[in-house]
């Protein structure tokens, strides 16, 4: 059988060394009445060749498209270097750096990742990663509420609903009140903030660019939070920070992102990587691992996991979080991506997304009855109002190999389409989408 290193002969000799006659003697303390005596209802063992056929067929049953889907996962280009490096077994078959002397590679890569995300966001500290965007936000809310000791958390109405749902699950038994601002258009109505605030409100959560792609009035939001002494949690798009002002610029206390865009495949939703940054003041209450620089006994630079007294393996029920295994390899990919693209490259990716998104939006809005859902500025994603149900446009476009966007029926907008444009989309593809949406609108009407 695959992956066992010892033969039956070895097995028998080892039993002899142990001092028993049969394997059964080693498990005689397991009561008979709870033993499993049947045979598993599982397929027979496959060879590598066999399993390649089986799983290859499953992969082939899926269809891929020229995609304009976003909403938290994006089809950005992943440079060849990234996969070449994260496929090195030295990285992917290693584990948590509990023995720093033989984990310097991972620890240093973590330190570099943390540093680059800090530079990107304008924040003081970044941890070694969370699972993904939604759970990272949930942990941010827990931290913010703990810090303020107030139980009301105010959410912008324009946050990714999936993230909001993860937060609800995480906080269900904490006695918090999660208050979502009333939906009024596709950006936060900052005029309403004052009326929703009371002295039990401790945290404000905003996404910028928001779920619908539009930019929020972060200056007003930042001023409001400063005025009311609220913890500001900003959910951002890491690619957007190639050109947009940072969470640090807006005096956010905690900055959260889904880091998939940075060098990670879409992979049907995971594994992704949660980026978690905060101000220095919060560092001792942060969840997750941190790599810190230090020296060895000969004074040479080295790295260790630090501030471990926050963590579950030391503090158990008093830990700041239960997180242990996180998303190390995806954080490594993000770090490699940022190092490779560098100062100029990240701006260029952001510029390309920006330009292509605006080119496409202009073409789409030239179709009669089609318009942007908001006048607010946008970056690489925007919500389109259609004169027909979004589903009818999607169905039509799929026949032409295009996935034009996310149907916003689930948000209560059945005639709205959320369209994301990455640097990968060519002008030809943008033109094809515009033509196809135009045809679909005319046909359905």
């Amino acid at each position: 059988m695959a992956y066992l290193s010892n033969s039956d002969k070895d097995f028998a000799e080892m039993l002899h060394t142990i001092g028993v006659d049969r394997f059964e003697d080693l498990i005689e303390n397991i009561p008979r009445e709870i033993r499993f005596s049947g045979a598993f209802n599982l397929p027979e063992a496959e060879s590598e060749l066999g399993v390649s056929n089986v799983v290859g067929e499953l992969a082939d049953e899926n269809r891929t498209f020229v995609s304009f889907l976003g909403g938290g996962a994006y089809d950005h280009y992943v440079p060849a270097v990234v996969n070449a490096l994260i496929s090195r077994p030295e990285f992917y078959t290693s584990y948590t750096p509990y023995q720093p002397e033989v984990s310097q590679g991972n620890l240093q890569a973590m330190y570099e990742f943390q540093s680059m995300v800090c530079e990107l966001t304008g924040m003081d500290v970044t941890n070694a990663s969370m699972y993904e965007g939604g759970s990272a936000l949930a942990e941010a809310v827990l931290l913010g509420a703990q810090q303020t000791r107030k139980n009301k958390i105010l959410f912008a109405s324009t946050i990714n609903r999936r993230y909001r749902e993860v937060v609800e699950t995480y906080t269900a038994n904490m006695g918090f009140q999660l208050i979502t601002m009333p939906r009024a258009g596709f950006t936060v109505n900052t005029g309403e903030l004052e009326s929703l605030y009371d002295d039990q409100t401790g945290v404000f959560v905003v996404q910028h660019p928001n779920y619908f792609g539009f930019l929020e009035d972060m200056e007003a939001i930042s001023a409001f939070c400063r005025d009311k002494n609220l913890i500001l949690i900003e959910v951002y798009d890491p690619i957007s920070l190639g050109i947009l002002k940072t969470p640090g610029d807006y005096a956010a206390h905690i900055a959260i992102a889904e880091g998939q865009s940075l060098g990670n495949a879409q992979n049907f939703g995971g594994p992704y990587v949660g980026l978690f940054s905060a101000t220095e003041k919060l560092v001792r209450k942060m969840p997750g691992r941190l790599s810190g620089m230090t020296v060895d006994s000969e004074g040479r630079r080295g790295f260790v996991l630090t501030l471990q007294t926050r963590e579950q393996h030391i503090r158990r029920e008093k830990a700041t979080s239960n997180i242990c295994t996180n998303s190390g390899l995806m954080a490594l990919a993000a770090g490699i991506y940022l190092a490779l693209l560098g100062k100029q490259g990240l701006q260029k990716v952001a510029d390309l997304c920006l330009q292509k998104a605006h080119y496409l939006a202009d073409r789409l809005c030239a179709i009669e009855g089609v318009s942007l859902a908001s006048n607010a500025p946008y970056f690489k994603e925007f919500t389109l109002k259609l004169p027909v149900p979004a589903k009818s446009v999607i169905d039509y476009a799929m026949k032409k190999g295009l996935l034009p966007g996310i149907d916003l029926s689930g948000e209560g907008y059945p005639d709205h389409l959320l369209v994301a444009v990455t640097e990968k989309r060519t002008r030809q593809e943008l033109d094809a989408l515009a033509e196809t949406v135009g045809e679909a609108v005319r046909l359905v009407r």
């Binding site: 695959a2 899926n62 078959t93 584990y95 699972y131 947009l244 002002k245 393996h313 190390g328 080119y359």
Partner: protein, 484 residues
């Protein structure tokens, strides 16, 4: 050794990756976005050519110990071999290029794989329901505890206490707290089992559940599990099994049959998906019929040979992941299960148990065995004798590095002094176990004959012992901050 930081390789104007020029009219940023939204200066990310980025990370990589290089017997981590075919098939573009919001009819292969994996995992564990969503074991624990919470709430009860044995992994109490519970710790007996008297004294109407790792972190099978079940039933408390050590149980017992209500699996332990230097993991949660209706949504279901994401579970605890879990790891676990097949799982357990007992026997020559009980797939040594002679468990661990071996988990579980927790896994050969035993026995001799070589170890690693206290005192976790 290699000693450069990526920031130290950076030179103004160097380019790592060339992007295509815009093929649409190139408007300036300021024409498209009002100036007040734009950053005033770019992020000072490194500027390093591609070749040097590759060399940098390659140079870093070789500083790591890893499973493909050598033995990695970290107790309760199950650092088994990560089959290459898993990686190859998970890398098929028919999987990697899928967007999670694609219409269901376009991802039937992915959903079929998830559905079948759900069925396989239920079969292996003896449960009736499952979610693949949790991204790691600790998130699985939280999910399971939220299910327990829901169970009681829907019965109009609100018990607040989770019982946890003193041998439990640190995530158990931490997960209980993040799920809104408080914990009470239950002692272990000298034989390494749950102390039933202590358990009874802590059990009351406020007990929501008991979280048990079986086999425990001592590597000992908890044989009183039926008795514990009866005790829990007296107060309608539920039984959670931490499945970190599932590798020892395949085909011998099934947690669902043993009386547990809910468990998590670690696909990155028992099902061979790689650990990735600290993740990603995957922590599916399996449940019996008591808890099935509360699972996170969506769940993959099958109707007329078509596969759907079912969001319609009115009593669900909600969602713990933005999408469907760590899909690419589900592919790897699926490949592994198909490779092992129906007959193979029992052999995994048998070989992991024999490997552990063989190594324990060899090491018992010189090391004290923490508990005198039969071992499953791992065991715990105590280096108390060695400590009395001058070398602590930590020193022994560091000296092992000089032999090219990764040390065991040390100082855990907390209830064993100078603990060294060793899990060899089924994928290691007898020769490797012998080499590890010889190294451990040699170190034991060195403690008397040449103590400095142990106390100053390691000698051959890229760095020597690191100043961890200094790292806390002079906190430096951000290169840019220190150069401000």
């Amino acid at each position: 050794m290699y000693r450069k930081l990526i920031f130290e390789l950076s030179k103004e104007g160097r380019v790592g990756h060339v992007l295509p020029d815009a093929d649409v009219p190139a408007s300036s940023r300021e024409e498209l976005i009002p100036q007040n939204f734009l950053r005033s200066h770019p992020a000072e990310l490194p500027q390093v050519p591609e070749n040097e980025v590759v060399r940098h990370f390659t140079d870093l990589s070789v500083l790591n110990h890893h499973v493909d290089k050598s033995f990695y017997p970290l107790g309760s981590c199950t650092m088994k071999y990560n089959p290459k075919i898993n990686e190859k098939l998970a890398g098929l573009s028919g999987f990697t290029d899928l967007h999670p919001a694609q219409p269901e009819e376009t991802v039937q292969g992915a959903l079929r794989l998830m559905f079948e994996l759900q069925e396989y995992l239920k079969e292996l564990t003896g449960f009736q329901g499952i979610t693949l969503q949790p991204a790691a074991g600790a998130q699985g624990e939280m999910t399971g505890l939220l299910l327990i919470r829901k169970y009681h709430r829907l019965k109009g009860r609100n018990p607040k206490t989770i019982l946890v044995p003193d041998s439990a992994h640190g995530t158990n109490p931490a997960s209980a707290v993040i799920s809104g519970f408080q914990i009470k710790t239950v002692r272990s007996t000298p034989a390494g089992l749950v102390d039933l008297d202590d358990l009874k004294s802590k059990l009351d109407e406020d007990t929501a559940g008991f979280m048990l790792t079986n086999p425990s972190t001592l590597g000992i099978f908890e044989s009183q599990v039926s008795e514990i079940r009866r005790l829990m039933d007296q107060v309608d408390a539920l039984m959670y099994m931490d499945g970190a050590n599932m590798n020892a149980l395949f085909g011998i017992v099934r947690p669902g049959d043993m009386g547990f209500d809910v468990m998590h699996l670690n696909l990155h332990k028992s099902f061979s998906t790689p650990h990735g230097g600290g993740g990603p993991g995957s922590g599916p949660v399996a449940v019996n019929n008591k808890l099935k209706n509360y699972l996170p949504v969506p769940i993959v279901v099958k109707e007329d040979n078509r596969f759907f994401l079912n969001y319609d579970l009115p009593d669900t605890v909600g969602r713990v992941h933005s999408f469907y879990g760590n899909f690419a790891l589900l592919v790897r676990a699926y490949v592994y299960i198909r490779m092992i097949g129906k007959e193979g799982f029992r052999k995994i357990a048998e070989h992991s148990i024999v490997n552990a007992n063989y190594l324990k026997k060899r090491l018992s020559e010189a090391y004290e065995i923490g508990f005198d009980a039969p071992s499953m797939h791992e065991f715990v040594l105590s280096a108390e004798n060695q400590k009395k002679r001058g070398a602590k468990a930590l020193d022994i661990a560091k000296r092992l590095l000089d032999f090219g071996l990764h040390p065991p988990t040390v100082y855990f579980p907390l209830i064993v002094k100078e603990a060294m927790m060793i899990e060899p896994t089924e994928t290691e050969s007898r020769e490797m176990l012998d080499a590890f035993a010889e190294a451990m026995l040699q170190i034991d001799k060195e403690i008397d004959e040449n103590p400095d070589i142990v106390l100053n170890a390691p000698h051959t690693t890229p760095v020597k012992r690191l100043d961890e206290a200094g790292a806390v005192r002079n906190l430096d976790v951000n290169y840019y901050k220190r150069t401000d």
